[in-house]
Amino acid sequence: MKAQIRKIIVQVDEVHIEMGKPISPPTRRALAMAVIHNPLAGSFTENLDELIAIGEELGGLLGDKCVQALGIAPGDAQSYGKAAIVGEAGEIEHAAAILHPKLGAPLRVAVEKGAALVPSSKKRGTLGTAIDVPLGHKDAAFVRSHFDAMEARVSDAPRANEIVVAVVVTDSGRPLARVGGLQAHEAKGLDGLR
């Protein structure tokens, strides 16, 4: 294990009724977060390979946690997203190193396929800072019903030398989605866009 993990948190949010209307089956979003030590906190380091390797490890770990929490087959995942909150002694580029080069490939294994870009967000923050993890359909980014976000927050993290890494996987779009656009059943899922 490359990442030094202090805490892992898994949340599931199910919506059964929205604006008085029953949602059947309920929409379900799972969020998995790891609170990790930032090995590069405190000074500038040119090479970020250590964080890139941690990202690769967490992509699989957190993706699996989400799928497991939803209790679905990997192929039944519909949308995903990722985010990181870097503690004060770290650099925004540290979040980029974790999220962008290698986190995606093992996450795509965890959800099967995943032709679309994994939407992401990042920020510097402190204990209890919230980040809204953007979500998009995993195989066709233009599927409008699946543009969404889920709030991620750990009450006691990140400490100055920590990073909170978050992955969200859903088995559904927004409840009561009705703003048109490309529908999930119309998507081809070949180019990651449509």
């Binding site: 993990i5 202090r6 805490k7 892992i8 948190i9 898994v10 949340q11 599931v12 949010d13 199910e14 919506v15 059964h16 009724i17 929205e18 309920p26 929490a69 919230a130 889920m150 709030e151 927050r153 009450s155």
Partner: protein
């Protein structure tokens, strides 16, 4: 009367808090059920029908939380409960949770009493047994507040068999993004599988429980 809008579960595994990593990470969990508050926006003198209606909700929530934590009931060592009432409700609506939330979780964990007797508040004083005959003997600690969507609640937790076990005094912050809306209530249950991860402030330890009175 019972309209469940959202179900939110939270499970966390704590490896350390900057001390020696635990052999087994501390597992804690909470569930928040977002419900319509049938009494929102007015003063309703008789709110007890809701307490009865919540009984089945509590049982279902306790089991959902146990499943989310993926542990057998026998391994739960700490618990707590709480409620966050939306802006068009009153604190007293949150107090409806004391009986259905508390006894549901206690029954799941092995309590043998009769919740209906306790609900009426006329419990005969019986001497505590000299050895352990059941589980979940302690009162379930609780807290509640009126709050806006996304308000956090620090839910207190204590040992399930003896409230004075110092290593198990704990709290877990529970917060459901976007809830409660003004006409909603978030009812919360929390469970823990052990002591604080680096517990070391002395006092009664779980292995020394001897009175079986729910306190010591």
């Amino acid at each position: 009367m019972i309209e469940i809008r959202r179900i939110f579960t939270h499970v966390e595994s704590i490896a350390h808090e900057f001390g020696p990593p635990a052999d087994q990470p501390l597992l804690r969990g909470a569930i928040g059920i977002v419900m319509t508050n049938p009494y929102a926006g007015r003063y309703e003198p008789d709110i007890l029908p809701m307490m009865d209606a919540l009984g089945a909700v509590g049982v279902d929530m306790a089991e959902r939380l146990r499943v989310a934590m993926d542990v057998p009931a026998e391994r739960i060592q700490g618990y707590g409960k709480g409620a966050i009432v939306g802006a068009n409700g009153e604190l007293e609506h949150g107090a409806l949770w004391h009986v259905p939330g508390g006894y549901a979780m206690r029954e799941l964990l092995g309590w043998k009493g009769d919740r209906n007797t306790y609900a009426k508040g006329n419990v005969a004083q019986t001497p505590a047994p000299s050895s352990q005959t059941a589980n979940a003997l302690s009162i379930v600690p609780s807290t509640k507040k009126v709050g806006a969507p996304g308000t956090g609640l620090d839910v207190p937790m204590t040992h399930i068999n003896a409230s004075y076990v110092r290593s198990h005094f704990d709290a877990i912050e529970v917060r459901v993004p976007g809830a409660p809306l003004a006409d909603e209530i978030v009812f919360i249950l929390a469970m823990s599988m052990g002591a604080r991860v680096h517990a070391r402030v002395g006092g009664l330890v779980a292995t020394a429980i001897s009175k079986w009175d729910g306190l010591r």
